[in-house]
Chain length 300, copies 2
């Protein structure tokens, strides 16, 4: 039964080792239904095999890796995305974003999607208060949605999600299932958007799961600078997934997920009680944040 | 706020792109609690970043990848291990096994663990029938567990799991939760083992999950040649995880998981009704399989 070991290896799968094994796996993707799928999978196989050889991964480490991925899979649900978090802390998310947004320096920079987006957020009217009980100081956020040529983009769909001033998103609450600091609304005909919410605070990414273990083993900080998530969709334009960061935050240069761009930082200005920019009378101190978003048209 | 973009990047995490981003992620592992962890993680980051750059992974592909891993996590439970299956079809499992078993050519070859091992299998006595209702023709399997020097290894713990002649493991059954074709027993004082079960048949790896999608996109065969899984544990010896393959199987050179070693193939011999090697009187035709396992002592 040993004859075949003497034949040159083409597509056979028996008695393979080292580079022959890698080549055989690559060959199994030669008949892929799409060229792109083939290219991506062959590159992935090449790099994963190189990793295994590079570190001479032990069998025990392989079992640990399988267990680690399994636990990430089991902690992930429709309100928590630990695979995204892992991609984020390994800089993979930011690398993908960077690669895909090099051609549009005039557009607002993208940053990480993060693990806390939830489908089906509540609908608000432009100008509404989306805090919905989120703990924190009131903050009026406003600006424009524009094309990179400076034209207003009416009816832009703006999705917002953020942590409260304890550093928690609504979906992290153990006690309550109340949606807070999360919603979507549409800019007006001149591309103006505004809403009330709370001033965001810096927070640690979730440390109670597999990603937390990894950060601890690396002695890495879990902190992220204060920010508000935005996802802005306008037909004919590239969807913008980004944050607005709070100027002066102490973690702007040590973001656990490598997401900060200087162009995404702006001031959150404090005001004494009085009349807010939207005419609302405020009995307590409040903040304002102004930020304009510039979207890139999709090339035909 | 743009001052820092002009400074050389050391450990900062703002405005990073390309190689600077990769270097910053690598730097976050410099204070790891273990040198080995640091080496493995830094190599993994280097190779995953190289993969993303190599194929210029799109944001849509990244989302598809996250969704793919999430679905693998959700189909994986205590009876199905889709991450192992993915590792298997990408040749990663076999690569790890090969790297870790180069120094022991006298020992029985290892092969993939596979996704169908289950903790807590039933205990049998040496010589028992472990089929327990598995569909298939009766087969008497026997041999020795020996050191690489040829010394018998008494009381070796032998774990066995196999598919029935429809190609299904017990845990794949939708209708029944009966354990079949699975169990553990101990070799006798002379290192002899024997048990009855059914003759294995070739089968497709599970195609109803994410791994099946991948095989379909690659137009790859899901077939594995007929085999019986063995895991043999003896104190002081390296645990052996392997299969015994059926001689003559048509898939020996196209195993979907690259697991075949010629040294692991043996004949399953057919016999007319009569007296079996253990003295049992058989009223129907039956098979016999003989295989000796050689284990490597653990170096001090």
């Amino acid at each position: 039964m040993d004859q075949d070991t003497k034949k040159p290896i083409t597509y056979g799968t028996r008695n393979l080792a080292d580079e022959d094994l890698t080549q055989a796996v690559l060959a199994t993707f030669e008949n892929s239904s799409s060229e792109r799928f083939q290219k991506v999978m062959q590159s992935l196989v090449r790099h994963l095999h190189a990793f295994v050889k590079d570190v001479e991964l032990t069998e025990e480490e392989w079992f640990k890796g399988i267990d680690y991925l399994t636990r990430i899979g089991h902690i992930t649900d429709d309100q928590r995305q630990e695979f995204v978090l892992l991609s984020d802390i390994l800089g993979i998310s930011m690398l993908v974003i960077d690669i895909n947004n090099k051609q549009s320096p005039e557009a607002t920079a993208s940053t990480v999607f993060g693990p806390f987006f939830v489908e089906g957020s509540p609908r608000f009217a432009n100008g509404d208060d989306i805090a919905n009980g989120a703990s924190g100081e009131p903050c009026f956020m406003h600006g424009h949605v524009l094309s990179i040529a400076g034209e207003p983009l009416p009816d832009a769909r703006i999705e917002i999600w953020q942590a409260d001033d304890n550093g928690f998103y609504d979906v992290q609450s153990q006690e309550s299932s109340q949606v807070y600091g999360r919603g979507h609304l549409y800019a007006d005909e001149a591309g103006n958007y505004s809403f009330w919410s709370v001033r965001p605070e810096a927070y640690p990414i979730p440390e109670d799961g597999p990603v937390g273990e990894l950060l601890e083993a690396a002695n890495r900080s879990p902190m992220r600078p204060a920010h508000v998530h935005f996802m802005i969709k306008v037909p004919g334009y590239k969807t913008l997934i980004t944050h607005v960061f709070k100027e002066g935050d102490q973690y702007l240069d040590s973001d656990a997920v490598f997401g900060v761009r200087s162009s995404l930082i702006t001031s959150f200005d404090r005001h004494e009680p009085g009349i807010a920019p939207d005419g609302k009378k405020m009995d307590v101190p409040f903040y304002t944040m102004h930020y304009d978003f510039f979207l890139m048209p999709i090339k035909e």
